[in-house]
Symmetry: C2
Subunit: 211 residues, 2 copies
């Protein structure tokens, strides 16, 4: 049984994290209640990905927070990450699962109800559902689906879903009400003056919405 907690899922962005760096941002965010961390750096070389990932792994050790690597399966395995996240334009999930083996977490981005319905729960452990709102963080993203679209998308799969795309603290209650197991954020934490406090406000809102 794989253990991971999608409640507050930080996707690191190297540009937005520049003030403190990705590792320090992640460390502070975890202190504020982040439950999963994804390293996403499409511009990094394999060697840079591995170096940053190893530093992140060391920073997260003993925190119980899962480290997920976006798209780069070589880096995910070299780092000893807890999981891999792939998009629809990245490798096929069958290939990803074969490469990482049965024990690593595999996440898949889905942007439509039809894609969500097609995800194989034997291959994939969770879906990233969105973008809920339009966001500047991921240029060229798919059309936003809104909260109603999020609810429909999540209903189309048996897998736990983390909502993503322009989400802020005021969207916590509606995202969870739409069936999300948690919220993935980038700019709501990365580049905030105090990532710990930013994460804390989000995690408190999540706790409150669930109570």
């Amino acid at each position: 049984m794989k253990r991971f907690d999608l409640s507050l899922y930080l996707v690191l962005d190297p540009a937005l994290c520049r003030p403190l760096g990705m590792v320090e941002t992640a460390r502070l965010a975890v202190a504020g209640g982040v439950t999963m961390v994804q390293l996403r750096d499409k511009g990094a070389s394999p060697a840079q990905m591995i170096e940053t990932g190893r530093a992140l792994k060391a920073a997260l050790a003993d925190s119980g927070v899962s480290l997920i690597v976006n798209d780069d399966v070589e880096a995910a395995v070299a780092i000893g990450a807890d999981g891999l996240h792939v998009g629809q334009d990245d490798m096929e999930v069958q290939t990803a699962r074969q490469l990482i083996g049965p024990d690593m977490i595999l996440g898949l981005s889905v942007e439509t109800e039809a894609l969500a319905a097609r995800v194989d729960p034997a291959m994939v452990d969770y879906v990233g559902a969105g973008p809920v709102f339009t966001t500047a963080t991921k240029p060229g993203h798919k059309p936003p689906i809104g909260m109603d679209g999020l609810a429909r998308l999540i209903a189309a799969t048996s897998l736990p879903a983390v909502a993503i795309g322009g989400l802020k603290v005021e969207h916590v209650a509606t995202s969870l009400a739409a069936g999300a197991a948690g919220l993935a954020v980038v700019s709501a934490i990365c580049g905030q003056p105090d990532p710990r406090t930013a994460a804390l406000k989000l995690s408190q809102a999540i706790r409150k919405a669930r109570s």
Copy 2:
């Protein structure tokens, strides 16, 4: 026990193979006696690698010839190739082995005696040893080691070695005498007017040198 035959190892080059294409070149070369085929296409997209690789796999089906993919582990696994070949500048062999699992063939390029001595036979199945001579096929290659260098390099490892780098039919006997299990060629087959005949001459020379 993995079975592969390094005797005559064709490394496909997309530019040199343009007249007939990589798949048809490989098919003809196998008819002429090639025993292993490597798909090497540093400029291809992942999707192109997978498409070409699947076509190659279909063309080689039932031939007993192993299909090896250069560097691209996602493609190697997606294709269902027999093996992966990595260079010193590619991923670490531990990572490669972890990604492809225990059953796929793993080859590693070594350019010096010191590198050859350091190869872990628990991780790697064969080494590519060279470049023996200077070659235009691989721009920016390491300094050529010559036949004496080849013999020293091969002596430094317990693994089977395939010699590579500017090898032609007149180098078959000396390469095998240096301890090579076989010869890897690119331009001696790719782009030759008749790849089947070119392969046949090489395979006959190998058979003769061994008798």
